[in-house]
């Protein structure tokens, strides 16, 4: 593999990450400008998977996008400093600081009923994701270390 093709491959992975993480967070598609911002943020912040475990988790999430919510949930408890979490967090920052998506980050005023309904609904979804995510994460980490 030549140096140029490795370089293009890394960029392609970052572009794919940007699209997947934006979809995960907000169910949205991304214009080119936002993808570029995500890539630039990764570069500036030095966001790279350095350990075998981090690389495996990240590669798995990008290869199988359905796993992102679960791995994010599992890592939240078991590996909060996982590069996957940091990249999703960075995507959230990039999305929030733009007029197109900012409303999805502003506070919501709800009635008391809706407040508890939404809180419980989100809480239940989070619990289910954690219950699936923890064993998934542990398995991927084990395979990476073997």
């Amino acid at each position: 593999m030549t140096e140029n093709s490795v370089y293009h491959s890394k960029d392609d992975v970052l572009k794919k990450e940007a699209v997947l993480f934006a979809r995960y967070l907000l169910d949205c598609d991304l214009p080119r400008e936002m993808v570029d911002r995500y890539m630039c943020a990764n570069e500036q912040l030095g966001l790279r998977a350095l350990t075998a475990s981090d690389k495996s988790i990240l590669n798995f999430s990008v290869s199988y996008p359905w796993s992102i919510p679960f791995l994010d949930a599992g890592a939240g408890l078991l590996q909060p400093e996982a590069v996957l979490r940091k990249k999703i967090y960075t995507m959230a920052a990039v999305l929030e600081a733009s007029p197109r998506y900012s409303e999805s980050f502003l506070p919501e005023n709800l009635s008391t009923f809706m407040f508890f309904f939404r809180l419980i609904a989100s809480g239940l979804k989070a619990c289910i994701k954690v219950m699936i995510g923890i064993p998934m994460l542990m398995l991927i980490r084990k395979c990476a270390n073997d």
């Binding site: 939240g76 990039v94 502003l106």
Partner: protein
């Protein structure tokens, strides 16, 4: 001939300079003077919500051009140093290195010092707070008034004014937001019960204009105070520097990093300063020097100048805890858009019946430090966390608590000489006693209880590392007895003829009350007394 050199442009330096300039003395202010050259002009004078839905450049100042506003690692959400404020700490690690595993030292080389991003709280000390110092509240009352007139203070008549007094130049208080209003109304209904338990709440005076004052605008309630000063309503010492520049006898020189002083046999003092970050040095001569380089900065200069390397001197800091909380009074309520980012309410707790040593708490709402930062604070999957944080934010409150600090043999700093061209290194060791920690735990437990009664349920108490409060003092304390590396009641460093200190260094012990207003009053007094001495 320069009469007085002032080192630093922070709250101490500018307030020492004013009476000296008014007295007609020639004053030279030497300052490094970092400013924000990049982001200030980008931030529009609009409220937070309008900016969020309309400004295509917001990512530049909210996140930073190098994404320095995305804080990974251990830096918590409460950090208020946003990209437009990062100039406040720029270059300080390089020029003023600190070695410590037990203390977080934030120092500033900015125009205006650390106060270029302060919270603007201006409660004065009480008589008891001066009990170990050779000055009293009576000595400082006029100087508090001078400073209040100079910087502009807004505040109201409530329980805190009976504790701290009302200022003559008070502008009406800022409006509080809907989050704080609910809490304050509940406090007022249950006031007697709280007061009997030693808890008093009110709207603390703020150095924020509620109406136009001395060329500054009234606060616009844009909730952008962590990002910009578009209405100049929040006092910054750099506004006083601009006023000082109108005196023909005042000169401001930036890009000057003061290293040391040397008193001469002809009763003059030489100051040696580096130019920028380079190796070139210049010497300035004056009849007197006022050190206002900050608690650690002034200590470095004094220790270096007097060749007191490897000598321990005390250092104090307010222990700082912040408590994200849910204000259940806001359930089903609408959060008003119009608000300021400042402390909405202050609560003072006296654990002793004599009301001797209060613990200060402040109540903030959370919005303008952005939602994404909250995702890092939770172990939840980030998609659900975002949804939850959005609905919790109207109910969100952050309660901050500052505790008093007293000197001990386990709280000290030492300057170690560098033997090459690298800067001298300041080692700081800081450890609280078990008794102090128990006292802090007990006070915080009581305060959490009070806020719970007010409807604010704590989620988690986060005690920051020592030094995180960014309140420092006590390195060159005022002392009644002549001891080396202390100052007399006029602020003169003992053992020198004409070197004065006018910043947090002179204050010991350090009450829980934010010290900045007192630093300014002491500096005003030091400047006044020095002016009288030099003119006589």
């Amino acid at each position: 001939m320069i009469d007085v050199i002032i080192v630093g442009s922070g709250p101490g330096g500018v307030n020492a300079a004013f009476p000296l300039c008014e007295a007609g003395l020639n004053v030279l202010m030497l300052d490094f003077g970092n400013i924000d050259k990049k982001y200030r002009q980008l931030v529009p004078s609009e409220d937070f919500t309008k900016i969020r839905i309309a400004d295509n450049r917001q990512h530049r100042y909210f996140l930073g051009d190098e994404y320095e506003g995305i804080l990974l690692g251990n830096i918590r959400v409460g950090t208020k140093l946003t990209p437009p404020r990062l100039h406040v700490v720029a270059d300080s690690a390089e020029l003023m290195p600190v070695d410590s595993d037990t203390f977080v030292a934030n120092e500033s080389l900015a125009l205006g010092g650390l106060a270029d991003s302060w919270g603007a709280g201006v409660l004065p000390f009480r008589e008891e707070d001066f009990s170990d110092m050779p000055v009293s509240l009576c000595d400082l009352n006029q100087h508090y008034r001078n400073v209040a007139q100079r910087i502009g203070i807004s505040g109201g008549s409530d329980d805190l004014s009976f504790l701290f007094g009302e200022h003559d130049f008070m502008m009406p208080p800022l409006d509080i937001d809907s989050n704080a209003e609910k809490v304050f109304n509940r406090y007022k209904r249950l006031k007697r019960r709280f007061n009997d338990s030693g808890f008093f709440m009110g709207r603390a005076p703020l150095a924020v204009c509620s109406r136009p004052y001395r060329g500054r605008d009234a606060h616009q309630y844009h909730d952008m105070d962590y990002w910009a000063d578009t209405d100049s309503s929040v006092y910054r010492p750099r506004y006083t520097v601009e006023e000082l520049k109108r005196f023909s006898n005042f000169t401001y020189m930036n890009e000057r990093f003061v290293h040391s002083f040397k008193e001469r046999d002809d009763n003059l003092v030489d100051i040696t300063a580096g130019v920028g970050k380079g190796s070139r040095k210049e010497t300035y001569t004056a009849r007197a020097v006022v050190l206002s380089a900050g608690t650690m900065g002034s200590a470095r200069i004094a220790l270096r100048s007097l060749n007191k390397y490897d000598v321990r001197i005390p250092i104090l800091t307010n222990s700082y805890t912040y408590i994200p909380s849910i204000n259940i009074n806001m359930l089903g309520q609408t959060l008003r858009d119009r608000r300021s980012s400042h402390s909405q309410l202050s609560g003072m707790y006296f654990s002793d019946s004599s009301h001797r040593w209060p613990v200060l708490s402040n109540f903030f709402s959370y919005r303008s430090l952005l939602t994404f930062k909250l995702l890092k604070e939770s172990p939840l999957p980030q998609r659900e966390c975002l949804k939850i944080m959005r609905i919790l934010m109207p109910l969100f409150a952050i309660i901050t608590i500052f505790h008093r600090d007293s000197p001990s043999p386990y709280k000290y700093c030492v300057l170690h000489k560098s033997h090459d061209s690298a800067p001298d290194r300041l080692e700081i060791q800081y450890r609280m006693s078990d008794e102090e920690l128990r006292g802090i735990d007990a006070d915080e437990k009581a305060i959490k209880g009070f806020y719970r009664q007010l409807g604010c349920w704590p989620i988690k108490a986060i005690r920051r590392a020592p030094g995180s409060s960014i309140h420092y003092s006590g390195t060159l304390p005022m002392s009644r007895e002549e001891r080396e590396l202390t100052c007399n009641a006029e602020g003169r460093l003992y053992g020198t003829r004409s070197v004065y200190v006018a910043d947090g260094s002179v204050i010991s012990p350090l009450p829980s009350i934010v010290p900045t207003f007192t630093i300014m009053a002491i500096a005003d007094r030091t400047g006044k007394l020095l002016a009288q001495k030099l003119k006589s």
